[in-house]
Amino acid sequence: MLDVELEEGPTPVTPELERAAERAESRRGLFISLPGYVYLVIFFAIPLVLVLVYSFASRSSTGLTVLEGWNVESYKRLFTPLVAQIFGRSFLLALITTVICLLFSYPFAYYIATRKPSTRNVLLVLVMIPFWSNFLVRTYAWAFLLGSNGPISQISQSLGGEPIRILFTNTAVLIGMVYGFMPFMVLPLYAAIERLDWSLVEAARDLYANGATAFRKVTLPLSMPGVVAGSILVFIPSLGAYVTPAILGGARTTLLGDYIVSQFLSARNWPFGSALSFAVMFVMLVATIFYFRAGARTL
């Protein structure tokens, strides 16, 4: 389909003409993509390159970035015990968050997937609504609940106990992360389970497997792409989380997100902050590629 103008009117087609037509079609596509292309290059690709550049720059004594004296000091610093500890802590937190999400989400998704279609719809919408509402506020709601003046504490006090303050502990951060990211686990799991060919489970039962075995040997393996997808969708943002730990964790334990932010807003070490950002992004990119290979196949 194409609007190529010819001077003398239509002539029989030759390979050259066909190619010219294809090229015109190509140009059209490029033209339509141009605004997006240009914008992304300017405000995304170039900034990305700049971060990389800055990560090799040096820092003046007053905290300004000096685009000379290129070095890999910032990257070397990544491997110091302090940074390794922060990485490790963030990694562990992300891992625990993912596992907890998985443990509760799988039965949840399974339940929804095994209801009537009309019920399923309603149940899904009910999951979506809190999920799409403001992230900051949802995290704040826990700060409200878990504070020493919050309802939970008040209840325990009125029962004669001590004021409970869960806020500003690792537990609070964990609760907040699970709360924030669980829907990312539920959706892919639901999609994978819903798409299951249940006649395979019935075939297993027909071949003398009991319920638990059928689940273990048929349902679980077949829903694995959903498990992988959901896990990575929770793990990746958990690793770089900033807002949730900032609100619920206070200043005590430092995680990656906050560490990076502080390099730019307080510590004023942009080269190091850039190296950190790049390293985190690299880890996430690897995880994402892994996700595309494993999870995206069925979704």
């Binding site: 405000f43 900051l136 506020v137 003046n149 994402t288």
Partner: protein, 296 residues
């Protein structure tokens, strides 16, 4: 998937109990927050009586209202621009082949998988560097503010809009466009009369997503905003770090309810979608549209 449950009765009840627990987990904090925002007591945890004093205080707070105004302006502009650009991008990627398409495809996915901290860092450095150059070369001194915030929001929103619209285009029967051409419609008229009406739910979904993301954003905005140009989430974030107050409860409730209304509108719009006539079951469609925004 059959209509009947394939799990035994007892097991099914366990599952149901778990489901109830999860729903409780999801909704309790939000509902409690909303409830307590109407609490007359300055001490947030103790319920005394219902009142709207915190809402009145909120409306009277110039900083809150100013931040709200900024949020709305930025979100509005960012949504419109990113929806138009993102839709064009989606069409180009789904319907055409051209040189550099692979690179663009990858580039368009990146903003989705990049953590917002990194995005914030990238744009901060970018604006800093660019403003520095402009200052040196042209002598014009630019600063971060609503403009840079808007530009930043557009940057990540384009990709999200593109993904949602692409999902919708992919489900679109391309023979419909051929049919229109067969019936004497030019490219433009085909787009206007056939393509656009049929991808409209996707475009609307993308726009709503962009709006939500813009109103939600904390880190990126924090990094590229300047004095006097803060948005509501960033302002609330700053307040929250200093402690929980009933005022924040009220502001939060407003933000919460507003975003939930937006979601409701989006879902309502999706239900009336034309694609229903293409005979897809609703849970599938709904799920795919929503899932796809988070998968990339």
């Amino acid at each position: 998937m059959s209509d009947q449950t394939t799990t035994a009765g007892f097991f099914d009840r366990l599952l149901a109990a778990n489901a109830w627990a999860v729903y409780l987990f999801f909704y309790a904090p939000i509902l409690l927050l909303i409830a307590f925002s109407f609490n007359d007591n300055r001490n947030v945890g103790i319920w005394t009586e219902a009142s709207v004093r915190w809402y009145r205080e909120m409306i009277g707070d110039a900083q809150v209202m100013g931040a709200l105004r900024n949020s709305l302006i930025v979100a509005f502009v960012a949504t419109i621009v990113s929806t138009v650009v993102g839709t064009m991008l989606a069409i180009a990627l789904e319907r055409y082949r051209f040189k550099g398409r692979g690179a663009l495809d990858g580039l368009a996915y990146l903003p989705i998988i990049i953590p917002d901290v990194t995005m914030a860092v990238m744009l901060l450095i970018f604006f800093f560097q660019v403003f520095g150059i402009i200052d040196n070369v042209l002598g014009i001194h630019l600063d971060t503010g609503l403009g840079t915030i808007t530009l930043a929001h557009i940057a990540f929103n384009i990709s999200f809009v593109a993904i949602v619209v692409r999902a919708r285009i992919a489900r679109f029967d391309s023979s419909l466009e051929e049919a229109a051409a067969d019936l004497y419609a030019s490219r433009l008229r085909t787009f206007w009369k056939v393509t656009l009406p049929l991808i409209a739910p996707g475009v609307a979904g993308g726009a709503l997503l962009a709006l939500t993301l813009s109103l939600d954003d904390v880190v990126v905005t924090q990094f590229v905003s300047g004095p006097g140009s803060t948005t509501l989430p960033v302002y609330v974030f700053g307040l929250v770090r200093r402690g929980v107050t009933p005022l924040i409860n009220a502001v939060s409730t407003v933000m919460l309810v507003a975003s939930m209304i937006l979601v409701g509108i989006s879902l309502g719009f999706q239900r009336n979608t034309v694609a229903r006539s293409q005979r897809r079951s609703e849970p599938d469609e709904l799920l795919e549209d929503l899932t796809v925004t988070h998968l990339g």
